[in-house]
């Protein structure tokens, strides 16, 4: 693990023990789950948790789809984390709040549009308008955030902008709270053709839409980063900002653009959130933000495809994990622990593979 090849200390032994214990628990849970699925009365299943009830195939599929849809949103938010991290090297904690602001913008505009009567008559157009507005608001928020809070701190020790971003996060959260009040901000009613279960695998239309939009956004972002001049500049700044500036790249502009693109992605995710859950609160950004960060880490931070894969992993893990691993192990009320599962995934991934699933660089090489 360490750059220096030192002899293994007690801490290393403890970590190895933790790794093995975590993987063994997961393995035991999975085995018990499979054993129950095969035959609820086989000895292993009875030994693990006799009361556990196995899932039907339909329920299993629904859980996977719900997890994927949730995970796609984590992935979209994680892109923002990942890009900023790649370019600036610090976690922008407040990115989750940008996402929340996008969702709130969508709620306000959609309910205003519904009041004007346009929402029902012209749903697709209105939706596009809402998405556009939300992207604009989020982009502006992200850019202002960068300008006010992060740019003056460029070059400071890494913890300073990190702490600042925590402050920005709580400020934005409460900014929305005091302006718009503590109540739930609801979206206007979605048309039935969107919400009903489609014949295709009986999956809800909104979930299909979420997955599709996430895929499109991913491809667009990939194109931007890998195939355009801006993307090239971004990658250059990520590699080494100083040398990039010597090469004639306006580093400040690239950083602003990075924040803008991340913000826009968060705006899209915010609207998808609204479509899926119909309502949003001022606190809606914090936990998804943290989970999205976990997704970015799990996928290997700085890696676009990895972020999406990490998001899907976290989404599916917190959807399936409680019932597939915890309940067979005898944990009662496992669904209550789903946030704990999401964090546990992060911890275990960092324990077992600190660079994330798709990460290339070992994070310890730039440890501060």
């Amino acid at each position: 693990m360490q750059l220096t090849t030192k002899q293994r200390t007690r801490v290393d032994w403890f970590l190895t023990f933790l790794r093995i214990a975590a993987l063994a628990l997961i393995g035991a849970g999975l085995l018990a789950f499979i054993a129950q699925a095969i035959d609820a009365n086989n000895p292993f299943a009875r030994w693990a948790n006799p009361d556990a009830l196995s899932l039907t195939g339909k329920q299993f599929r629904d859980l996977v789809v719900a997890g994927l849809a949730q995970g796609a949103m984590y992935g979209l938010i994680a892109l923002g984390y990942s890009m900023v991290y790649g370019v600036l090297g610090f976690i922008n904690f407040a990115h989750g709040e940008v996402f929340m602001i996008g969702a709130v913008t969508g709620a306000v505009t959609s309910s205003k549009l519904a009041e004007a009567g346009a929402w029902e008559s012209n749903f697709v157009l209105c939706l596009l308008l809402v998405v556009f507005l939300s992207m604009v608001v989020c982009t502006v928020t992200a850019v202002i955030m960068e300008r006010v809070a992060y740019r003056p701190l460029r070059g400071k020790p890494r913890l300073i902008p990190l702490i600042t971003s925590i402050g920005v996060s709580f400020f934005l959260q409460n900014f929305i709270l005091v302006l718009l009040g503590p109540g739930t901000k609801s979206y206007a009613k979605m048309p039935d053709w969107l919400t009903e279960k489609r014949t295709f695998l009986e999956i809800q239309g909104t979930r299909i839409l979420v997955l599709a939009v996430a895929a499109v956004a991913m491809v667009g972002l990939w194109y931007l980063v890998e195939r355009t001049k801006t993307g090239k500049a971004m990658r250059a700044v990520a590699e080494d900002a100083e040398i990039a500036s010597l090469m004639g790249i306006d580093v400040n502009r690239i950083i602003v653009k990075t924040f803008a693109v991340g913000g826009a992605m968060a705006g899209v995710a915010g609207i998808l959130w609204g479509l899926l859950f119909n309502s949003v609160l001022h606190t809606a950004g914090f936990l998804p933000g943290i989970k999205a960060f976990s997704a970015a880490v799990v996928g290997g931070i700085g890696n676009i495809g990895g972020s999406m894969a990490g998001g899907l992993t976290i989404g599916v893990a917190e959807s399936l994990g409680p019932l597939m691993i915890l309940e067979p192990l005898g944990v009662s009320g496992p669904s209550q622990l789903r946030d704990a599962v999401a964090f546990a995934v992060l911890i275990i991934v960092l324990l077992v593979r600190p660079s994330g699933i798709f990460g290339e660089r070992l994070p310890s090489e730039e440890r501060t």
Partner: protein
């Protein structure tokens, strides 16, 4: 800087510091032991008899006749065992409101506080003395907040009683403080059985003598819902859901216990977290038990998500959804998802009930509410709060007398009156206090929500009343 000097200095100071530390320790120990004795000393000039805050208050003795008092006392209740508060001529009788008036729970606490304000305005003076509510206090819906606010209350020894708290968690910390200071506490919206009793003669673990409430006990609502589901709907397997809040968890548990007692099977109780949106995992967990009914006594917005997502979960398609008063808000009833659901809650058919303290009925109070605050109450407990206040004021009236132009209020008399309350007419119905302070009418109704287009009709569509 000279490194050696630095080291030397620190070594030299070590001795001094140890001595200082020891001194601090001794001082603080001494002071702590003295502190108890001094605590009430400055209070002596304030009240004619300083309340013995640290002593266990006398047990309620409702049957004891008022002692043969000197003439001016008249037939005022009380034996003076908890002290007598004197309100000098020209000053006001002090009571307090302690409700969750800020943050996300303000929707519950604000109507409570306003109920108190309206009741005081309607009640008028007591023996020529006006009633002062002071600054409204906030229980922050937490134990710490409740305790801090209670300290503010008991610091003023003129205070007779408190209407509050909004949240049971705050009451757990506030009620021992308030009641041990000889004051009474009447809550309009605590429902936890731990604060009063289990109705079988066992005091709850957080019960304090001097605590009363005009809200129902969770056990009643749990039993009402259990009976309704089992007997009226004929469903013999049900599940429950809570959101980790003490109120919702307690109610879900009470429902489950009552349901099992009458012969039903609880297939599962699942907790979700505040702020959750994706309910599919939790609902799937419940679906594995194939319940015929799902009772989720939680609040929006989590409740909205449950109602919207439950029908899409395989295994819950035909499950009857039921919620409690927390979901009985217009925003939710207007959603199509809520159609066909049952809601339990305290009996809100106030109709022509008249509060005997002020002679007002619910419509008059609501008119006054709207006139004063520009909106209708955001939660159901304004009436309970109104009744709690008039109960307190009536108790003060019954335990007070005027002597030399000053008003004297016997704290023990206030409790004596409240303990003996029976068949008191309030806007929420007929109130009778049991020996553990449960004063509510304990009437629970279940309504059926037919159509999102006509929510007013649904609110009055009572299909079941308990008991």
């Amino acid at each position: 800087m000279n490194r050696f000097g630095f080291l030397k200095r620190s070594r030299k100071n070590r001795g001094a510091l140890t001595v200082l530390l020891a001194m601090v320790a001794v001082f603080s120990l001494l002071a702590t032991s003295c502190g108890n004795d001094d605590d009430d000393a400055p209070a002596a000039p304030e009240a004619t008899a300083a309340p013995e805050a640290t002593e266990e208050p006398a047990a309620p003795e409702p049957t004891e006749a008022p002692e043969p008092a000197p003439d001016p006392r008249g037939d005022a209740l009380g034996d003076g065992s908890l002290g007598v508060v004197t309100v000098p001529e020209g000053e006001s009788i002090q009571i307090r409101s302690l409700n969750a008036i800020s943050g996300p729970v303000a929707f519950l606490g604000l109507p409570n506080q306003r109920g108190v304000e309206l009741a005081i305005a309607d009640y008028g003076d007591i023996q020529g003395f006006s009633v002062d509510l002071g600054t409204p206090l906030d229980d922050l819906c937490s134990a710490e907040g409740g305790q801090a606010a209670a300290q503010t209350i008991v610091a003023d020894e003129q205070v007779i009683g408190v209407v509050g708290t909004s949240c049971s968690g705050a009451a757990v910390a506030a009620s021992p403080l308030v009641t041990q200071a000889g004051m009474v506490m009447i809550s309009p919206s605590n429902t936890s059985p731990a604060l009063t009793s289990d109705f079988e003669g066992n005091a709850g673990e957080s019960y304090n003598v001097g605590y009363y409430r005009t809200a129902h006990n969770d056990l009643v609502q749990g039993a009402a819902m259990a009976n309704f589901v089992y007997s009226e709907l004929g469903i013999s397997a049900a599940a429950a859901m809570h959101d980790g809040d003490p109120y919702t968890q307690g109610l879900a548990q009470a429902f489950s216990n009552a349901y099992e007692e009458i012969g039903g099977t609880t297939t599962g109780i699942v907790g979700i977290n505040k702020g959750d949106t994706d309910m599919v995992p939790a609902l799937t967990e419940l679906a594995t038990g194939s319940p015929g009914a799902l009772f989720f006594p939680i609040f929006p917005p989590e409740g909205d998500h449950v109602a919207a997502q439950a029908p899409t979960v395989s295994g819950l398609e035909g499950t009857q959804l039921l919620a409690a008063d927390g979901m009985l808000v217009d925003g939710f009833l207007e959603l199509a998802d809520s159609e066909g659901m049952y809601f339990s809650g305290p009996d809100l058919r106030f109709g022509t009930n008249v509060n005997q303290g002020t002679g007002r009925n619910a419509d008059q109070i609501l008119d006054a509410y709207q006139a004063a605050y520009g909106e209708l109450p955001s939660a159901a407990f304004w009436g309970h709060s109104y009744d709690a206040t008039t109960l307190l004021l009536d108790a003060i009236a019954a335990a007070s007398w005027v002597e030399d132009g000053d008003l004297h209020i016997d704290r023990a008399g206030v409790r004596q009156y409240l303990n003996a309350v029976s068949g008191y007419n309030g806007v929420t119905g007929s109130l009778s206090c049991d020996e553990f302070g449960d004063c509510a009418s304990q009437k629970i109704t279940v309504i059926f929500h037919q159509s999102a287009a006509n929510i007013e009709a649904s609110k009055n569509n009572v299909v079941y009343a308990y008991p």
